[in-house]
């Protein structure tokens, strides 16, 4: 099985899916001749031509709006938004158009568009190259939202997104584009949307057991904390959510019932962040299984800073602090 980083996994997936299905087209700023600012689409224009790997004008609303039109015609567009921070000009197209096409037409029209976007901080990009806007899309009926953390899941989930009939917001942890490496199945590979992965299992319930929920780049930060915390005698279950909408409530609740404690880790600001929804959903189903309040380790309710970004981002120490608090450690 070949080893890849996340960028290579995206590229491999797009190539496989474009070979498999002539309806799949890639469009975005600088994706063609240049191969994308992160090189995710390198070589696709050479292989599939300028009509299937399309360099567009600089207009996110136009990219998404035209992708919707292509999908209405029967194509399977994969649009790239260069950075998640630039998705806002396309917000109306995503929320009012893409996500509503099937419902408002009673299924007469559908728009299976995948919108890829590098997200998250830690690359010295400042406010406009670092945000994690997943929550605004999770709050939008009619979308699926996927946010993998590793190369194999990136390839498999992106393939599932392209093959499915629903519009998908596909967020990629750009901080780990090249640092997260792993074995990725060659050729066609699909990971179903809607399933979380348990990356580290807890032994069972004890005074020191806890579940950590994370996604994207935060999975790697949480893995750090798991390693350190395990060494300190904590019994930690780490769940990589992978799909945020619809999130895998069964896996989450099973883990909560097992460990009795929950910490949600995300980069986005805390207030009304996805951690809030997870906490609400967990207490609705497992309140009496909880030994302690659900804690959130998140970005702050500030704009994303440049010089102090590593202070803003959740890190191992903040997660360990939450583990101590939740276990009265």
């Amino acid at each position: 099985m070949p080893e890849m980083n996340i960028i290579q996994a995206v590229n491999d997936c797009l190539r496989v899916e474009m070979r498999r299905d002539s309806r799949v087209v890639v469009l975005g700023e600088d994706v063609g001749r240049f191969g994308g600012v992160f090189r995710a689409t390198v070589g696709l224009q050479e292989e599939f031509g300028p009509d299937r790997c399309i360099d567009t004008p600089l207009a996110e609303n136009g990219i998404v709006g035209c992708a919707i039109g292509m999908a209405l015609y029967g194509l399977r567009p994969v649009a790239e938004i260069q950075f998640a921070d630039y998705v806002y000009p396309a917000y109306d197209q995503i929320v009012n158009e893409l996500a509503k096409m099937r419902y408002r037409s009673g299924g007469e029209y559908q728009a299976p568009v995948v919108i890829r976007m590098p997200a998250g901080g830690g690359i010295k990009g400042g406010h406009y190259h670092s945000q994690s806007p997943e929550t605004i899309f999770i709050h939008t009926p009619g979308l699926k939202v996927v946010y993998p953390s590793n190369p194999a899941d990136t390839k498999g989930l992106l393939a599932a997104a392209i093959r499915g009939d629903d519009p998908v917001i596909f967020m990629e942890p750009k901080r780990h584009y090249r640092t997260a490496r792993g074995e990725v199945p060659a050729g066609e590979y699909v990971v179903p949307i809607g399933k979380a992965a348990v990356l580290h299992e807890a032994a069972g319930r004890s005074a020191r057991s806890v579940t950590i929920l994370a996604w994207g780049a935060m999975v790697h930060t949480a893995l750090d904390a798991v390693e350190k915390g395990t060494g300190q005698g904590y019994d930690i279950e780490l769940i990589d959510l992978r799909t945020l909408l619809p999130f895998d409530i069964e896996t989450i609740v099973a883990s909560v019932k097992k460990t009795g404690r929950v910490i949600v880790v995300h980069e986005a600001p805390r207030t009304c962040g996805f951690g809030a929804e997870l906490a609400a959903s967990i207490q609705e189903r497992a309140l009496l299984h909880l030994e302690a309040p659900i804690l959130r380790v998140t970005g702050f309710d500030t704009p994303f800073p440049y010089a102090l970004e590593m202070e803003y981002l959740p890190n191992r120490e903040r997660i360990l602090d939450a583990i101590e608090r939740v276990t009265n450690g």
Binding site: V25, G32, R33, Q45, G49, P50, D51, R52, C53, I54, D55, T56, P57, A59, N61, G62, V64, G65, C66, A67, I68, G69, M70, A71, L72, Y73, G74, L75, P77, P89, D92, Q93, N96, E97, K100, M101, R102, Y103, R104, S105, G106, G107, E108, Y109, Q110, P112, P141, G142, K144, G164, D165, D166, G194, L245, P246, I249
Partner: protein
């Protein structure tokens, strides 16, 4: 206008010729065939008597439906409805210029085009009333009709958002080597939106076979054209994108048909997009909460009443002995009777099934919606058993 040979994906800077005096004249003048008195000033496009009558009936049906819907809205029988009185010429000219497989992408007031292109009248009314016969289960406000079979895309009220969709549809057709053409509508207010720019710009760069028609009805609710743009015309904006652009009398169905049909033919033969400004007038209010007397000079509206596209076309059809005034009156009566009968029958149909509230959100239903539906059904069952 000499457009460049830019192919998608290529970024070589190829020069686009400066637009000529003729291009500018087309975009700032006013193309007219029928004058305000119904006299033909120029060559009439090749249309059979049967086609002309059909176009007249299409416009008239739109007008009469509007009148019924507005009455019913006033009586609380229909919700938020936006009418097209005074603007029927552009809608029907475009609908008539398209082939059956072409797509029509509407703005807010083009519902009668769907009817003209094959949407069954009963389905149309079911949508207007939001009843159980509406295939979209009454999810949209009245007027946002459509179907795949009629190639009328079911639109939204988000202004100009449909422009890039029209471009994308047309672009996809070109990529697939099919000869489908798309007509996309927008209003004068919509030309201030970013999506207007992206729709035109992407269409021009990728030579998408799309024809944009702007219904310049002079008013975006209370905002006059002078506050919408400082450009000399709306059509001239198209030239800046490298798109052949034309300013046409929007109440002259023959001129509109001639210009739109040319544009559709150009698009179908691979010569890219066009942009057409139809200079017309919103005879009524924007919508139910609007009161034009607070911002519009009544003399202005009265002057436009005299330019009514239906009256003008009717005079010409009578003079040409294609459809006499008596025949027009009989047609009006027949269509009105049809509408009344259909309304009576559709109003007797109940609302959509409550279960449809939860359908069609996603192709693959999510547990989240399933759980909310179960909760809703449990409470509803309890309610009904009390």
């Amino acid at each position: 206008m000499a457009t460049s040979k830019v192919r998608s994906g290529q970024s070589q800077a190829e020069s686009v010729e400066a637009f000529s005096d003729l291009d500018e004249a087309c975009a700032t003048g006013l193309r007219q065939i029928l004058d305000e008195n119904g006299l033909a000033l120029a060559a009439v496009p090749t249309l059979s008597a049967e086609e002309l009558v059909r176009m007249y009936e299409g416009m008239l049906r739109g007008r009469l439906l509007d009148e019924h819907m507005l009455t019913m809205q006033g009586q609380g029988r229909v919700g938020l409805y936006l009418d097209a009185r005074g603007q029927e010429a552009g809608v029907i000219a475009a609908a008539h210029a398209l082939a059956p497989d072409d797509y029509f992408v509407p703005a807010l007031r083009e519902a009668s085009a769907a009817l003209y292109r094959g949407l069954p009248f009963r389905t149309f009314l079911a949508q207007m009333l939001g009843n159980a016969n509406d295939p979209a289960h009454g999810r949209q406000a009245p007027g946002q009709v459509g179907s795949r079979a009629s190639r009328h895309v079911i639109g939204s009220a988000s202004v100009a958002s449909q422009m890039p969709h029209a471009t994308g549809l047309a672009w996809a057709a070109r990529m697939r080597g099919e000869h489908t053409v798309v007509v996309g509508f927008v209003g004068d207010g919509g030309t201030s939106e970013d999506d207007f720019q992206s729709g035109l710009n992407f269409a021009a760069v990728f030579k998408a076979p799309v024809v944009f028609v702007c219904q310049n009805n002079q008013w975006a609710i209370s905002t006059p054209l002078s506050h919408q743009t400082a450009a000399r015309s709306i059509a001239i904006k198209g030239l800046a994108f490298g798109v052949p652009s034309f300013r046409v009398d929007g109440n002259d169905v023959l001129a509109l048909y001639a210009v739109i049909k040319d544009a559709v033919d150009r698009a179908r033969s691979g010569r890219g997009p066009s942009f057409i400004e139809a200079v017309t007038y919103r005879l009524g209010a924007h919508g139910p909460s609007d009161d034009p007397s607070r911002y519009r000079d009544p003399a202005e509206a009265a002057a436009w009443q005299r330019k009514d596209p239906l009256i003008r076309f009717g005079i010409w059809l009578h003079a040409e002995k294609i459809l006499t005034a008596d025949a027009q009156a009989a047609t009006r009566q027949r269509i009105d009777d049809e509408i009344r009968a259909a309304i009576a029958s559709e109003e007797a149909v109940g609302p959509p099934p409550t279960s449809s509230l939860f359908d069609d959100v996603l192709a693959e239903p999510s547990w989240l919606i399933g759980e909310q539906q179960a909760e809703y059904l449990r409470v509803r069952k309890r309610q009904s058993s009390q």
